[in-house]
């Protein structure tokens, strides 16, 4: 009985023991697999160098975590095994698998060894086999064991693979404490960092960082903040380019675990030269003291100058040599000092070669550029007269001598040769670059006689070498020679003016180019490049300013030449009102060409150049260019005026010559006359020569007329030439020919007068035609512009093509008026400006498409342009009207006379104002009314002056108009007091001297005036002076042409005298 139950229970226990073994093994395997799997994952995580950059604790943490998790798996598995692998669980499993009644086996276990249990066991023995009572459970346990084995194998494989793949990570896991402290890898190292380098040298270093993926390199210039850069490590090293070292540089490398020591790279300078000095000892004969010169750049020294050079280097020297292509000059060396000398006997470039005791080459100082100046003989020239000259009268002649020497002048003198005798006139030695003058007495010379003068200059030093100037012949002119001289003066004035205009154009172009050139500046990076560009610009600006100032002084000379021409024409009897006015206008234009504005702009540019401020300098140059353009335009007008004046002057002088010859020819010969004496024949021969010369001179004028396309004067001038030639032929022929030559000579004179008059009329006609055409074209353009405006406002969009034709047309008109304005002041500056402004208005319409505007705006712009065109036309019509009434082609004479007329009106007004009670504002109503009447008259004068201001081309009458308006204002306010009367008086005087105001002559209030030989003054019979009422005048006062050389006080006195004279009658 006891066996059977014991058997069932025994079988149950044995099965339970087997199952527990299997489960326990499975748990152990799972724990091991967990441990290995986690370790493998940790290795992968830390692999590829990540362990260095990740937190140092991580390897240890991974290790601990893996162990803990494995232990946990073990513990949990153990508990599971205990719970699931008990006898009771096995009994339940058997019940289930053997389909026994629930509790049949479990209850047996509880009854254990009791008889009942034995009985029950016996009953169950048949149902429960002794071997493997629960086969399904056994199979499950075995499968789990196999799974655990497989898992362990997998984890082991992973662990093995990761360990081989990331060996350094496995090592870090194996030695977590060493990994955390950084002792696991070999330390970082910087190779190739020299302790010192030559300043500016580029340095490259190598960072040894085995086992790292990257490394940080920290660097700084001493005193500055650290900068860090990450560098990739390839094959255990990182190559780093530090760049040029120009200051002490510190650096170290680091990774997450450690860093290298800080290294310092110090820059070192090479040896250099300092305190280089140059002493020049000049040849004794020059008498120049020794001096210290700058030892760089270009040296200009006289030949034979001893040059002594001393200097000090930063290190002890072994060798110092100054050399050029053909020689070497060794220097004495004492430690770091050196010295030596050479003689400047030829121009050369001497370079340095300096070596230190260590054999290192010292950076050489700049080469010495030596330019040897040879001792030149003195330079001497006669400045005035600039060429052989003829003079009139017996006034002393001023001779100016300019003498210079490269060292020192000893003597300057003038030799005057007359006939066979020679006189030496000593002159004071002029200062450097200056001149000396002397007045030559020519009172003993007869007409046609002359003296030859030469200037002598001798140097003070050396051999006292002498130089002689070119000779100048100064002769007293005959009337014919004076006329020739006048013509030559005119030609040279034209040539000088043309050359000046051309030079002005050139300097204007240069200024414009310099002010606009910007390309180079942008290409410069910064610093030295930009500064160099700035210096270059400043240098060019200074050169432009100098050039322009030189031109300005030439303009003064040209004005003087014009004044001389006027004087010559006057002495030659060829100066009439019109021609005088034209020359006066030339002077006026010249003065206007060089305005105070231009001078101010030049000063601005100079100042900006001094400051080296590039942008302000460009702006200043741009302003200069603008003023230069105005100056150039005025100069072009001068050229044109002078050309015409020269032609007029030539025609007039030739007419005078022809008339004089005709008069002399009338005096003798003819049929029935006594047989000519030898003296008569000599005089006839002289007349024939002069007549022939007259014919040739007229031919010259004809050529000039042809060149100027002055067609109106051409035919009469040609006829005059034919008459003169015929007269010359007649005089050169038979004895009785003198009288027969008189008629053609007279005809020649008449033809020349006709040529001049016709030409002046032609020039006026040309001007009128230009004005007429311009007015009509402007009106037509205004109409077309208005029509376009209407169409655009109506929605039309195809106007651009048509408008571009209008734009082109407006430019044609503006150019035409600008051309006309160059030839005559009858085209006022106001009109010129209005036409240009109208053209700009038309151009603005085209520009209105960029950016696009709406049609209303475009239409409005077109209407504005049309209005501008109409205004310009109206202004030109006034000029046209003035042209009609002008007697000269230039209109200048009328301008002067109008000023004189206004002066007379102002005088009457002054007298009436003086009759008003002072402090009028509190006076009677009648007096106030009278003041208002006078104010209206004053206003009328102001208005007339404003119109003159428009016409004078430079607006010079405008200040007078403004003052007249101010006086009128005061009269209207009845503010009559002493100051008002004084202002009126000043205004009168300014009007009286208005001619000089317009011609630009200076020294208005000075009493000194040009003295000329007394000549017969022909008062014009019909001149209006405006002094007395027409009809009351009995004696006509002289006009401006006669009065202009007098002082204002003298002029006033003469006019008042005539006024009293007429009043008395």
């Amino acid at each position: 009985m006891s066996n059977r139950p014991a058997t069932v229970l025994e079988a149950l226990r044995q099965a339970t023991a087997r199952d527990r073994t299997l489960v326990s093994a499975t748990v152990v395997l799972a724990a091991a697999a967990t441990l290995l799997g986690l370790l493998a994952t940790g290795v992968i995580l830390l692999g590829d160098g990540r362990w260095i950059v990740l937190p140092p604790i991580l390897p240890a943490a991974i290790l601990v975590t893996a162990a803990a998790l494995a232990a946990a798996v073990l513990l949990l598995g153990w508990r599971y095994a205990r719970r699931e692998s008990g006898t009771r669980c096995m009994a339940e499993a058997v019940e289930l698998e053997r389909q026994l009644r629930n509790g049949s086996l479990v209850g047996l276990l509880e009854l254990d060894e009791t008889p009942v249990a034995a009985m029950a066991a016996a009953r169950l023995a048949a149902s429960v086999p002794a071997h493997d009572p629960a086969p399904a459970r056994s199979r499950r346990s075995r499968r789990r064991l196999l799974g655990g084995i497989a898992l362990l194998l997998l984890a082991a494989a992973g662990f093995t693979w990761s360990g081989t793949q990331y060996r350094e990570a496995a090592t870090a896991l194996r030695h977590p404490m060493q990994a955390a402290s950084g002792a696991l890898l070999e330390p970082l190292r910087i190779d190739g960092a020299p302790p010192t380098v030559r300043r500016g040298t580029s340095v490259a270093i190598t960072v040894r960082a085995r086992g790292r993926r990257s490394v940080m390199l920290h660097s700084r210039i001493a005193g500055a903040a650290w900068k860090a850069q990450t560098h990739r490590v390839v094959n255990g090293t990182a190559e780093v380019e530090l760049g040029e070292v120009s200051a002490a540089t510190q650096l170290f490398a680091s990774d997450a675990r450690g860093r290298t020591d800080t290294l310092t790279i110090l820059p070192a300078d090479g040896p250099f030269v300092q305190d280089l000095a140059l002493h020049a000892t000049y040849p004794r004969y020059l008498g120049r003291p020794d001096e210290r010169l700058a030892p760089d750049g270009e040296l200009v020294v006289p030949s034979g100058t001893q040059l002594r050079l001393t200097g000090t280097a930063s290190e002890a020297l072994s060798d110092v040599v100054l050399y050029d292509d053909s020689r070497s000059i060794p220097f004495e060396v004492a430690g770091a000092r050196f010295s030596g000398s050479t003689t400047a006997d030829r121009s050369t470039v001497l370079r340095w070669r300096i070596a230190t005791r260590g054999g290192e080459e010292v950076e050489p100082p700049r080469a010495l550029h030596i330019a040897v100046s040879v001792d030149e003989p003195p330079q001497v020239e006669i400045v005035t007269p600039a060429s052989d000259t003829g003079v009139v009268g017996d006034s002393p002649v001023r001779v100016t001598v300019r003498a210079t020497d490269d060292h020192q002048l000893g003597v300057v003198a003038l030799t005057v040769r007359r006939g066979g005798s020679e006189e030496v006139v000593p002159l004071p030695v002029p200062p450097a670059g200056g001149s000396a003058a002397v007045f030559l007495d020519i009172s003993s010379l007869a007409a046609g006689e002359g003296v030859t003068v030469r200037a002598i200059a001798a140097e003070a030093a050396g051999g006292g070498r002498r130089s002689l100037s070119a000779p100048r012949i100064i002769s007293v002119l005959t009337a014919a020679a004076q006329r020739d001289a006048a013509r030559l003066s005119a030609d040279s004035a034209v040539a000088a003016a043309a050359a000046m205009a051309s030079a002005q154009r050139q300097v204007e172009r240069t200024t414009t180019e310099v002010s606009r050139a910007r390309g180079d500046r942008r290409d410069q990076s910064a610093g030295d490049g930009a500064a160099a560009a700035g210096h270059a610009l400043a240098s060019r600006a200074r050169s432009i300013v100098e050039e322009q100032r030189a031109l300005s002084s030439r303009a003064d000379s040209l004005a003087a030449a014009t004044r001389a021409l006027e004087s010559r024409l006057s002495r030659a009897g060829a100066l009439d009102d019109g021609l005088a006015a034209r020359l006066a206008e030339v002077r006026s234009l010249l003065q206007r060409a060089l305005t105070p504005e231009l001078a101010a702009r030049l000063r601005d540019a100079e100042s900006a150049a001094r400051d080296d401020a590039e942008e302000p300098l460009r702006r200043a140059l741009s302003d200069v260019a603008l003023e230069q353009r105005r100056a150039r335009e005025q100069l072009e007008r001068v050229v044109q005026m002078l050309r015409r004046a020269a032609i007029e002057g030539s025609l007039e002088t030739l007419r005078a010559e022809a008339a004089e010859l005709a008069q002399q020819a009338v005096g003798g010969g003819g049929e029935g006359a006594p047989e000519p004496t030898s003296s008569d024949r000599l005089r006839d021969a002289g007349l024939a020569t002069r007549a022939g010369q007259l014919g040739r001179d007229i031919a010259g004028v004809v050529r000039r007329l042809e060149e100027e396309r002055a067609s109106a004067g051409l035919a009469p001038a040609r006829a005059a030439g034919r008459f003169a030639t015929a007269a010359g032929d007649a005089l050169a022929g038979a004895a009785a020919s003198r009288a027969s030559a008189a008629a053609p000579l007279g005809q020649s004179a008449e033809a020349l007068a006709e040529a001049r008059a016709a030409q002046i009329a032609e020039w006026k006609r040309e001007l009128a035609a230009d004005l007429d055409a311009a007015v009509q074209e402007l009106m037509q353009l205004a109409t077309a512009e208005t029509e376009l405006a209407r169409r655009v406002a109506g929605g039309s969009s195809d106007w651009r093509d048509e408008h571009s034709a209008l734009e082109e047309a407006s430019t044609v008109v503006a150019d035409r008026i600008a051309r006309a304005a160059r030839t005559s002041t009858l085209v006022s500056s106001r009109s010129d400006g209005l036409v240009r402004s109208a053209r700009d208005g038309v151009v603005r319409v085209s520009a209105a498409t960029f950016p696009p505007r709406d049609r209303t705006q475009v239409s409005a712009l077109m209407r504005d342009a049309a209005a501008s065109l109409s205004r310009a036309a109206a202004s030109l019509l006034r000029d046209r009207e003035r042209t009609n009434s002008a007697r000269s082609a230039s209109g200048f004479a009328e301008l002067l006379e109008e000023l004189q007329r206004l002066a007379a009106q102002q005088r009457g007004l002054n007298a009436a104002s003086a009759g008003l009670p002072l402090a009028l504002s509190g006076g009677s109503q009648a007096a106030r009314d009278q003041a208002r009447v006078l104010a209206r008259q004053q206003r009328a004068i102001a208005r007339a002056l404003e119109e003159l201001g428009d016409a004078d081309g430079g607006g010079r009458a405008q200040p007078l108009a403004a003052e007249a308006n101010r006086v009128a204002d005061a009269l209207e306010r009845a503010a009559v007091d002493a100051s008002l009367l004084s202002r009126q008086d000043r205004l009168y005087n300014r009007l009286l001297q208005g001619g000089r105001l317009l011609t630009g002559d200076s020294g208005e209030d000075e009493d000194r005036r040009e003295a000329v030989t007394a000549q017969r003054v022909e008062f014009p019979s019909q001149r209006e002076t405006g002094i007395a009422r027409p009809g009351e005048r009995r004696h006509l006062a002289p006009g401006w042409a006669e009065l202009k050389t007098l002082t204002p006080a003298e002029r006033q006195m003469i006019i008042e005298y005539f006024e009293r004279l007429n009043g008395a009658r």
């Binding site: 035609a769 035409r816 109206a874 019509l877 009207e881």
Partner: protein
């Protein structure tokens, strides 16, 4: 001062005491102005619109006008203003703004109707009349009627100004009779040289030259008065007209052609020419053209200009045949005159319009070759190119 405050101050000064810089700083209008300053037009418009019925209505309306027009929303502005002007108490500036907006939208009829209603509702407001005659030139009858309403409706202190303005308006429109009526009334109330001058010109141009002379004489017009110059010209006294017209205002385009004639001729008397100029002033361009052509011989030196002037008048009237005859005469008989290039250009244009392309091209080429310095050349070249583009090549 900040730009915004500057703008506020400017607007405040412009609009009078309603807005002062100090009070404006707190107002919505002030904020809107600042938004305008920052070019935030949308937001400014919203603020203005919110204020448009408030105490700062006028300022808000001006601001709204600026903002909406800048945004190109004139229609929206019109709608807002239409709402405002429906009220009887709408400010006259807002009413004027409404008329202006209607004109901007090219709704002239609506503008005219509104202005007429405005006059009917408020006959004493001068601004209402101003708006009406600014809309478009009025026919003579309307202008006369308007003048009568002004005379009866507007207070005497404003009457002078409005009369002057209406007179200028009708003078510019060439309504000489109406102008004369207004100026006679104006002259009877106060004599000054300006009115006398205008009246004299209006009377002359209305056909009553004697009255014009009487007015000029009675008023003692100064010697340089433009009216005297014109009266001298109308009577053919060129000598007097020349010196006077030369002093005339540059901006008077009507004086330029007569001045051009006067500057070319030395004739002193030319009655036919004077009559022609008067006819032109009266608007009788046909009579003027005939007169100018007939008087060409009267003003020696300016014949070509007279013919060309007459031709232009014919052309302006659409009488191409009449114009063409005169162009031919100028081109043929005055080839060296300043007008010749223009005459040939116009000949060519006439030929082009009549379809005679080859003849037109010949004229253009003649012009280009004969007058290379003329300013009409660019137009001639352009038109010749266009013509050649459609002229078949010569066989």
């Amino acid at each position: 001062m900040a730009p915004g405050r500057t703008l506020v101050a400017a607007v405040a000064v412009f609009l009078g005491p309603a807005v002062t810089p100090s009070s404006a700083q707190e107002s919505a209008v002030y904020r809107a102005l600042e938004l305008e300053d920052a070019s935030r037009w949308e937001e400014a418009a919203v603020l203005y619109r919110a204020e448009i019925r408030g105490p700062d209505a006028v300022q808000a309306a001006f601001g709204l006008e600026r903002a909406l027009l800048t945004l190109g929303r004139a229609e929206e502005l019109e709608a807002v203003l239409a709402e405002l002007v429906r009220g009887q108490d709408a400010h006259e500036l807002i009413r004027s703004m409404y008329v202006r907006t209607l004109l901007r939208l090219e709704r002239r009829t609506a503008a005219r109707v509104f202005a007429s209603e405005w006059i009917a509702a408020r006959p004493s407001e001068p601004e209402a009349y101003r708006q009406l005659y600014a809309i478009a030139p009025l026919p003579a009858a309307d202008a006369r009627g308007l003048w009568r309403r002004i005379r009866s409706g507007v207070a005497s202190d404003s009457l002078r100004t409005i009369a002057d303005e209406l007179a200028e308006h009708v003078l510019a429109a060439g309504l000489w009779d109406v102008a004369r009526e207004i100026l006679e009334d104006r002259y009877s109330r106060g004599r000054d040289h300006e009115t006398a001058g205008q009246l004299a010109l209006a009377a002359a141009r209305a056909g009553d030259v004697d009255r014009a002379r009487r007015v000029a004489a009675d008023a003692g017009l100064p010697a340089d008065a433009p009216a005297r110059a014109w009266l001298a010209l109308y009577s053919g006294d060129l000598a007097a007209a020349r010196s006077l017209l030369m002093r005339a205002d540059d901006a008077d385009p009507g004086a330029i052609q007569p001045l051009a004639v006067l500057s070319r001729t030395r004739a002193t008397i030319a009655p036919v020419f004077g009559t022609a100029v008067l006819a032109l002033a009266r608007g009788d361009s046909a009579g003027a053209a005939r007169g100018l052509a007939a008087s060409a011989q009267e003003v020696a030196g300016a014949e070509s200009l007279m013919l060309m002037w007459a031709a232009r008048l014919h052309a302006a009237r659409g009488d191409e045949a009449g114009a063409g005859r005169l162009y031919d005469a100028v081109a043929r008989d005055h080839p060296h005159s300043a007008e010749a290039p223009e005459a040939i250009l116009e000949q060519a244009r006439l030929l082009t319009r009549s379809g005679r392309s080859e003849a037109a091209a010949e004229r253009f080429e003649h012009l280009i070759l004969t007058y290379p310095a003329s300013a009409v050349l660019p137009a001639a070249r352009r038109e010749l190119d266009a013509l050649r583009g459609r002229t078949p090549p010569a066989s």
